[in-house]
C-alpha cells in the first residue's frame, strides 16, 4: 500500500514536474523573445568624426527588421551615437509595472550596432493622466515622483547600455507641458525630483537637461518662452545642481552655419548664446550636446533651403562645431528616418526615406564621417556658353 502510494506519488510528482516544464516551455514560447534579429557579434562604428550623431525615431516601429535596418544605416553612415525617445507611456502602462519589451528591442539593437544611446525620457502614461487631460505631456508637480521612479528604473535597467538620459523635451514650450503655462520652476522641480534618484540607480548616469526649443517667444506668451531666458530662469532656480550636460536644440533654418548668433534671431550658432549663460552661471566646465539640429529642404516651407544648401550647410556645421566648440560632445541631426512619410515638410528633414532609400545628403554625410574622399564643393560651377 505504502509502496503503491509512493509509486502513485512519484508518478504524480513526475506528471506535475512534466506539466510544470510544459507550462514553462509554453510560457517561453508565448512570450515573444526580445529580439529575433540581433546580430551575433557587436559591430563597431567606422568614423573619423565621432561628433556625428543622429536622432532616430524607433519607438513607433512595428517591425523589428525596421529597427535593425535603421540602426545599421546610422552605423554605416558613421554616426557614433543616436538620440532615441523612450516614452514613459510605453514602458509603465500599468502603474508600478515596467515592461521593457519594446525598449529592450531598441536598446539591444543599438548597442549591438556599436552606437552610444542618448535616451530622451518623457510622455505620460494613461494612468498618470487619469482622464484629466487628452495630452500626453500634462505633467503636474504631483506626478514628478512617479516620473522620477520611471527615470530611476530606466537608469537601473539600462546601466552600462544607456547612460545618457535627457529629462523631458523642450520644456520652454507650452505644448510640451500639455498647454500649461511655461514655468522654469516646474522644470527645475522635475530635474530635482529625478537627478538623485537616477544617480542612485546608476552612478555612471549622465543627466542632460534643457533640450530647449529655439524660440524668440517673449515672457508671458501663451506659446512658450525664449530658450535664453528660460535657461537663465533655470539657473536662478538652482538647476545647475541637477544636470551634468546641457542638451541644445539648434536648427539652422535659412541661415548658413557660420551666421552670427543673436538674441533676436534663430540660427545654428544659438548654442553659443546658451553656452554664455552656462559660463555666466559658473557652469562653463560642463559640456553640451546638440541633440537636435539640421536644415530642411521642403519646397513649401518658409524656413527651408534648397537641397544643395541643406547638404552643404550640414557638412559645414560639423566643420564649424569641430573647429570652434571644444565644449560640444555630439552634434545630433534631426532625423535619420520616419517610420512613415508624413507627406509634409517634416519629411524633408530626414536623411533616409520611410522606405529606406538613402537620400543624397546621407551619402554626403557618410563620405564626411567616414573620411572618404569628397570634394569641398560637390557640384559643378555654373556652365558657360562656349564663345
Amino acid at each position: 500500500m505504502f509502496e503503491q502510494r509512493t509509486r502513485v506519488d512519484s508518478r504524480r510528482q513526475r506528471a506535475g514536474a512534466l506539466a510544470g516544464m510544459l507550462a514553462l516551455a509554453l510560457l517561453l514560447l508565448a512570450r515573444k523573445p526580445v529580439t529575433d534579429l540581433l546580430p551575433a557579434e557587436r559591430q563597431t562604428v567606422d568614423t573619423v568624426k565621432p561628433q556625428v550623431c543622429v536622432h532616430t525615431l524607433l519607438e513607433n516601429e512595428v517591425e523589428e527588421a525596421s529597427i535593425l535596418r535603421s540602426l545599421e544605416l546610422a552605423r554605416e553612415m558613421g554616426a557614433s551615437a543616436i538620440v532615441q525617445f523612450f516614452p514613459w507611456a510605453y514602458v509603465e502602462r500599468e502603474r508600478g509595472r515596467y515592461d521593457w519589451g519594446l525598449t529592450d528591442r531598441i536598446a539591444r539593437h543599438a548597442e549591438r550596432q556599436g552606437l552610444r544611446i542618448i535616451a530622451r525620457l518623457g510622455l505620460m502614461p494613461d494612468w498618470a493622466r487619469d482622464g484629466k487631460t487628452e495630452t500626453l505631456n500634462h505633467l503636474t508637480e504631483d506626478l514628478f515622483p512617479a516620473f522620477a521612479d520611471y527615470a530611476a528604473a530606466f537608469a537601473k535597467h539600462y546601466a552600462g547600455v544607456v547612460d545618457h538620459l535627457i529629462i523631458w523635451n523642450e520644456p520652454n514650450l507650452s505644448f510640451e507641458w500639455g498647454y500649461q503655462p511655461v514655468d522654469a520652476a516646474r522644470y527645475v522641480g522635475l530635474l530635482k525630483a529625478s537627478y538623485a534618484r537616477i544617480k542612485a540607480a546608476n552612478p555612471q548616469a549622465v543627466i542632460l537637461a534643457g533640450a530647449l526649443a529655439p524660440t524668440l517667444e517673449p515672457r508671458g506668451s501663451a506659446m512658450g518662452l525664449s530658450d535664453l531666458e528660460f535657461l537663465q530662469d533655470m539657473y536662478d532656480l538652482g538647476a545647475g545642481s541637477y544636470f551634468d550636460v546641457l542638451a541644445i536644440h539648434s536648427y539652422g533654418f535659412r541661415e548658413p552655419p557660420e551666421a552670427e548668433p543673436g538674441r533676436d534671431r534663430l540660427n545654428f550658432r544659438r548654442g553659443e548664446l546658451l553656452r554664455e549663460i552656462m559660463r555666466a552661471n559658473g557652469d562653463g566646465h560642463k559640456p553640451a550636446t546638440i541633440t537636435e539640429s539640421g536644415w530642411n529642404d521642403h519646397p513649401r516651407w518658409a524656413q527651408a533651403v534648397r537641397p544643395p544648401q541643406r547638404t552643404a550647410y550640414t557638412l559645414r556645421a560639423f566643420e564649424f562645431a569641430g573647429r570652434n566648440w571644444d565644449w560640444l560632445e555630439n552634434l545630433c541631426l534631426w532625423a535619420l528616418r520616419f517610420p512613415a512619410d508624413v507627406h509634409s515638410y517634416p519629411d524633408n528633414s530626414t536623411l533616409v526615406s520611410a522606405d529606406f532609400l538613402e537620400k543624397p545628403i546621407y551619402f554626403a554625410l557618410q563620405d564626411y564621417a567616414r573620411g572618404w574622399a569628397r570634394s569641398e564643393r560637390p557640384w559643378l560651377p555654373p556652365p558657360k556658353a562656349k564663345a
Binding site: D297, R300, W301, A302, R306, P307, P308, R310, T311, A340, D341, V342, H343, S344, Y345, L357, K359, P360, I361, F363, A364, P378, W379, L380, P382, P383, K384, A385, K386
Partner: protein
C-alpha cells in the same frame, strides 16, 4: 386575383428598374451649386507664398491656382472668394469649414483620405528628362549619357536609383536646376533632369529652344475638398473635366508656366 398577381409581378420587375433609372439620373445630374456651396460663394484656401501657383502681389493674389479657381467658379456658376492661408494651415482651414476647397499646388496625400477627397490631377510636377531635339533620351537606356541635375534633389535621388539598377551615367550635378538646363542648352550635357515646373519656367525664357521631354516620375497636384462635401466635390470634378476638355486648363498652365 389573376389581375392583381399580374400587377404585382409587373411592379416587382419595373419598380427596381425605375428606382435604378432614377438613381442614375440623380447621380449624373449636376448637384445644385446652391446646395453644394450654401454660403453662396466658393471659399478657396490658397497659400500665397508659392509662385507661380499663387503669390501675394500687394494684397492681390495672382497665379496659376488663382486663375484655375476663378475658371472653376465660373464653370460651377458661383463667385470665388480666395483666402490666403499659410501652407501649414491649409488642411486645418478646410477641415474646420473655413474654406470650401483648397487649390494650392497640393500633392495627393493618401494619408489624408479619411478627411479629404481629391479631384483628378490638374498638373503634374514630376521629373522631366529633357534632351536636345532629335536626340531623345530613353530613361531606360542612359549608359554613357551626360545627365545634368540639381545636386541632392529628387532628380539626384532618381539618378542614384538608375545607377543602382546598373546604369552607367556620367553625372553632372549643379547647384540649381537652371544650371542643369543651361548645361543641356549649351551642349555640355545630353540630358537634364528637373521637375516639370523648373523646366517650364526655364523654357519660357528660351523661346527658340525646343528640347524633347519625357516624364520620368509623376507628382500630381489636385484640388482638395472635405470628405463629407460630396456635392461640392462632384461639382469640382465636373468643372475641372470641362476645363480640360475645352483647353482652358492648358491655357491657364501655359500662361504661368
Amino acid at each position: 386575383m389573376k389581375r392583381f398577381c399580374r400587377l404585382l409581378r409587373n411592379l416587382t420587375l419595373t419598380l427596381p428598374l425605375a428606382l435604378l433609372v432614377a438613381a442614375m439620373i440623380q447621380h449624373y445630374q449636376p448637384p445644385d451649386p446652391a446646395v453644394a456651396f450654401p454660403g453662396g460663394e466658393i471659399a478657396i484656401g490658397v497659400d500665397g507664398s508659392f509662385p507661380p501657383f499663387a503669390s501675394d502681389d500687394g494684397g492681390k493674389l495672382r497665379g496659376l491656382d488663382i486663375d484655375l479657381g476663378l475658371a472653376l467658379a465660373r464653370e460651377i456658376g458661383a463667385p470665388a472668394r480666395f483666402l490666403s492661408i499659410s501652407y501649414h494651415g491649409l488642411y486645418d482651414s478646410l477641415i474646420s469649414g473655413q474654406v470650401d476647397l483648397l487649390i494650392s499646388a497640393l500633392r495627393i496625400e493618401p494619408a489624408r483620405r479619411d478627411d479629404v477627397r481629391y479631384s483628378q490631377p490638374y498638373y503634374d510636377n514630376g521629373l522631366l528628362l529633357a534632351s536636345e531635339p532629335g536626340a531623345a533620351l530613353d530613361a531606360e537606356a542612359l549608359d554613357g549619357q551626360r545627365i545634368a541635375y540639381e545636386y541632392a534633389s529628387s532628380a539626384d535621388s532618381q539618378i542614384r536609383a538608375w545607377e543602382r539598377a546598373g546604369a552607367q551615367i556620367e553625372k553632372l550635378p549643379y547647384e540649381l536646376p537652371v544650371h542643369a538646363l543651361d548645361a543641356l542648352r549649351y551642349g555640355q550635357a545630353d540630358g537634364a533632369l528637373t521637375d516639370a515646373t523648373a523646366f517650364r519656367l526655364y523654357a519660357r525664357t528660351q523661346e527658340a529652344w525646343r528640347p524633347g521631354t519625357a516624364y520620368v516620375t509623376q507628382d500630381p497636384y489636385a484640388i482638395a475638398v472635405r470628405r463629407d462635401r460630396a456635392e461640392a466635390w462632384k461639382l469640382v470634378e465636373r468643372a475641372l473635366s470641362a476645363l480640360k476638355d475645352s483647353g482652358e486648363l492648358a491655357r491657364i498652365i501655359d500662361e504661368w508656366l
